[in-house]
Amino acid sequence: MKHFIIAILLAGCFQVAQAASNRIFVTNERSNDITVIDGSSLEVEKTIKVGDRPRGIGISPDGAELYVAVSEDNAIAVIDLGSLELLRKFEAGSDPETFAVHPDGNIYISNEDDAKASVFDPATGRQLAEIQVGLEPEGVAISPDGKHVIVTSESTNMLHVIQVPEHTIIANILVGARPRAAVFNNSGDLAYATSEISGEVKKIDMTSYEVIAVKKIADEKAKPKDVILSKDETKLYVAGGRANQIIVLDADTMELIKGIPVGKRVWGLAMSRDGKRVFTTNGVSGTVSVIDTEDDEVIKTITVGKFPWGVVIDD
C-alpha cells in the first residue's frame, strides 16, 4: 500500500513535466470552441467548448497547461493539457485578444479597448503589472531570453519595447500603418513586424531600435497579419490575410521566396518545435493548412470550426 501511494505520488511528480502530446490546438472565434488535432495523423481528435469568442492561445513553459483568451468573457481559460479538462478561468481585463507566454510562466496580454498591456500570473490569476501603450494594442512578442516584450499598437502605429522585469517602456518605434504582429530572432537582436494597412514587413535592429529593412508586399490584397521565423532563421512566414496565401520571405534580404496558397483569410501561424511544419488558420474557409517547410508546400488541409483564429502546438 505504501509503495502504491509512493508510486502515485511519483506519477504525480512526473505529470508536472508532462510529455508533449504532439497535439495541435486551434481556437474557433465563431463556433466558440477549440479544435484538437492529432499531430501524427493530422486528424481532428476532439472539440472543446471554452466560452464566447476564443482567440489568443498559448501553452505554459512546462507544457502542463493550455491558455485561451475568451474575449467575450474577458477571461483566460486554463485547460489541463493531459486531461483536456477546463481547470479554471481568470479575469484578464477588457476584451483580451492576443497574448504571449513568458519563459517565467507569466502571460502578457494586449487589452485593445484600454490602450494598455497587462501581465498576469496564470497560477493565481493575479494581475502583476499594467503598462500604458498606444491605441488598439494588438500583437505581443517576447524575446527568447525573456528580457524584452514588444507590443504593437495598431492605431498609434508603433512597436513599444517593454523591459522585463521592470515593465517600463524603453523604446517606441514608428512603423507602417496598423502594426499587427512581431517576432524576435533566436538571439533577440532582431525583430520582424507586420503592418496590415501599409502592407509591409519591417526588420528592426533591437539593439538600436532602428528599422533596418522594409518589404512592401506586392499583392495589393495582402494584409500581413501573423509572422514567424523558420528554425534556421533563414525564412519568414507571413500570413497574407485576404491574399489567401502565406508569403515566404528571405529573412536576410527580405526578398520574396514564394507564395503558398492556403485557405481564405489566413491569420494565425504556428511552427512545430523541430521547424518542419507550419500550421495556418484560414478564417473564412474554416480550415487549417499544414505546410511542410522543406519545400514549402501544403501537405494537408484540415476542416476545423468557424473562423479559426489562433493555433498552438504542444510539442
Partner: protein
C-alpha cells in the same frame, strides 16, 4: 479672432467637465475627459511605464506621481505644481522638451467636425507622448479668415461652406487646407492645389447610392463617409472611443475631422516635417493613411481623399459598403466620384 496662448483662459471649458479635475488645462485641449478621469482616479503603474517621447523613461515621473496622490489626498500645492501635475503634457511642452505642432481650425465649435478634430488631437498627443511631439488646436470663426496670421500653423482644418473654404485656400496658400464638411463637387473640379477634401464629394455619395440601387432596386438608401455602427477594420474601436469621449455618435464630419488631424500628425511624426509646404507635398504625393476603413488611403489629383463609403437604409441602419461588391470590384474606390482632374467629359 480667437487665439490661444498660455496666458489665456481655458478654451475648452467642457473638457474636462467640471468635477473630473481641479481645473482645466490651459492653452489648448490636451486630453478628453475619459482618459483624464482614468489617470486622475487611478494613478498607478501605467504612468511610469509610459515613457513620454524619449527612449529612456524620465526619472522624475514617479515623483510626479506620488505628488499627484498627495494632491488627491487634499494637499494644497502651488499653482505651478498644480499645472504640472494635472496637465503633464503642458509641463513637458512648457519645458521645451517637445516639438509643438499647431493646427488651425476654422468653423463652428458646436458641430461634430470639431469634436472629431479634438479626438484627433487627443490621439496625436497620445502618440506624441511616445514620439516626442505635442499638438495643439487653435480655433477661429469663418468670418475672421483674412485676419489669421498663417505663420506657425502646420495645417488648416476647415469645417465651413465652400466659399469660406476657398477663401482659406487663398489665405493659406502654402498650407494644406483640409476640408472636413463641404461636399460641393465644384470644389473638386477646380483642383486647387492646396485644398484637400477629406469629406466625400456629393458625386461620390451619389455614385455609392447608385451602385447600391443596382443591387437593391427600389430600396431607400443613403451614402455617407462614416457610420456609427460600422465595426470592420477596427472602426468599432474608433466609434467606441469617440462615443466615450463626446457622448455622441461619430458621423462623417466627426470622422473627417479626426482623419484630417490623424493623417497630418502621423505624417509629422514619421517624416519629422515642420514646414507646411513640405507637409502639403507629402499629403498629396506620399500619403499612406489608415482611416480605420480598411484601405491604405491617399488623395486623388482632384484633392479628394479616396475612401470607402457606407450605406444606410431608411431607418438609418448600416446595410452595406461602397464600392458595392458585385456591382464593381471591391477595391474600385475610383468608381465613386470624379476620379481625376484630367478626366474629360465627366459631369458632376
Amino acid at each position: 479672432m480667437k487665439t490661444i496662448s498660455a496666458s489665456d483662459k481655458p478654451l475648452f471649458r467642457q473638457f474636462p467637465p467640471a468635477g473630473t479635475g481641479p481645473h482645466a488645462c490651459p492653452r489648448q485641449y490636451r486630453r478628453p475627459p475619459t482618459v483624464r478621469a482614468t489617470t486622475a482616479g487611478r494613478p498607478r503603474q501605467s504612468a511610469p511605464g509610459a515613457t513620454p517621447g524619449l527612449l529612456r523613461p524620465s526619472p522624475g515621473r514617479r515623483g510626479l506621481f506620488l505628488l499627484w496622490r498627495r494632491l488627491l489626498g487634499g494637499v494644497a500645492l502651488s499653482g505651478l505644481m498644480l499645472l504640472a501635475l494635472t496637465c503633464p503634457d503642458y509641463a513637458v511642452a512648457g519645458a521645451g522638451a517637445k516639438t509643438e505642432t499647431r493646427f488651425a481650425f476654422i468653423g463652428d465649435e458646436s458641430g461634430s467636425a470639431y469634436d472629431g478634430v479634438k479626438q484627433g488631437i487627443h490621439e496625436a498627443n497620445l502618440q506624441g507622448r511616445f514620439s516626442g511631439q505635442s499638438y495643439s488646436l487653435h480655433v477661429f470663426a469663418g468670418k475672421d479668415i483674412d485676419k489669421i496670421d498663417p505663420a506657425g500653423f502646420i495645417a488648416i482644418i476647415v469645417a465651413a461652406n465652400a466659399d469660406a473654404l476657398q477663401q482659406a485656400g487663398r489665405r493659406f496658400k502654402d498650407h494644406a487646407v483640409l476640408n472636413v464638411s463641404a461636399h460641393d463637387d465644384a470644389l473638386r473640379k477646380t483642383c486647387v492645389s492646396n485644398l484637400l477634401h477629406v469629406i466625400p464629394s456629393k458625386k461620390m455619395l451619389d455614385d455609392a447610392k447608385a451602385q447600391w440601387l443596382q443591387k437593391a432596386p427600389g430600396a431607400e438608401a443613403r451614402a455617407s463617409g462614416w457610420h456609427h455602427d460600422f465595426v470592420k477594420f477596427a472602426a468599432r474601436d474608433l466609434n467606441k472611443r469617440f462615443r466615450k469621449g463626446f457622448a455622441r455618435p461619430m458621423d462623417q464630419y466627426a470622422w473627417a475631422g479626426w482623419a484630417a488631424v490623424k493623417m497630418t500628425s502621423d505624417s509629422v511624426a514619421r517624416k519629422g516635417l515642420t514646414s507646411p509646404a513640405a507637409l502639403l507635398d507629402h499629403l498629396k504625393t506620399d500619403l499612406s493613411f489608415d482611416g480605420q476603413k480598411g484601405l491604405d488611403m491617399n488623395f486623388r489629383d482632384t484633392g479628394q481623399l479616396r475612401q470607402l463609403l457606407l450605406i444606410s437604409n431608411a431607418a438609418g441602419e448600416l446595410v452595406g459598403e461602397a464600392p458595392v461588391r458585385g456591382v464593381v470590384k471591391p477595391d474600385a474606390v475610383d468608381s465613386l466620384g470624379l476620379a481625376s482632374c484630367y478626366t474629360k467629359g465627366t459631369s458632376g
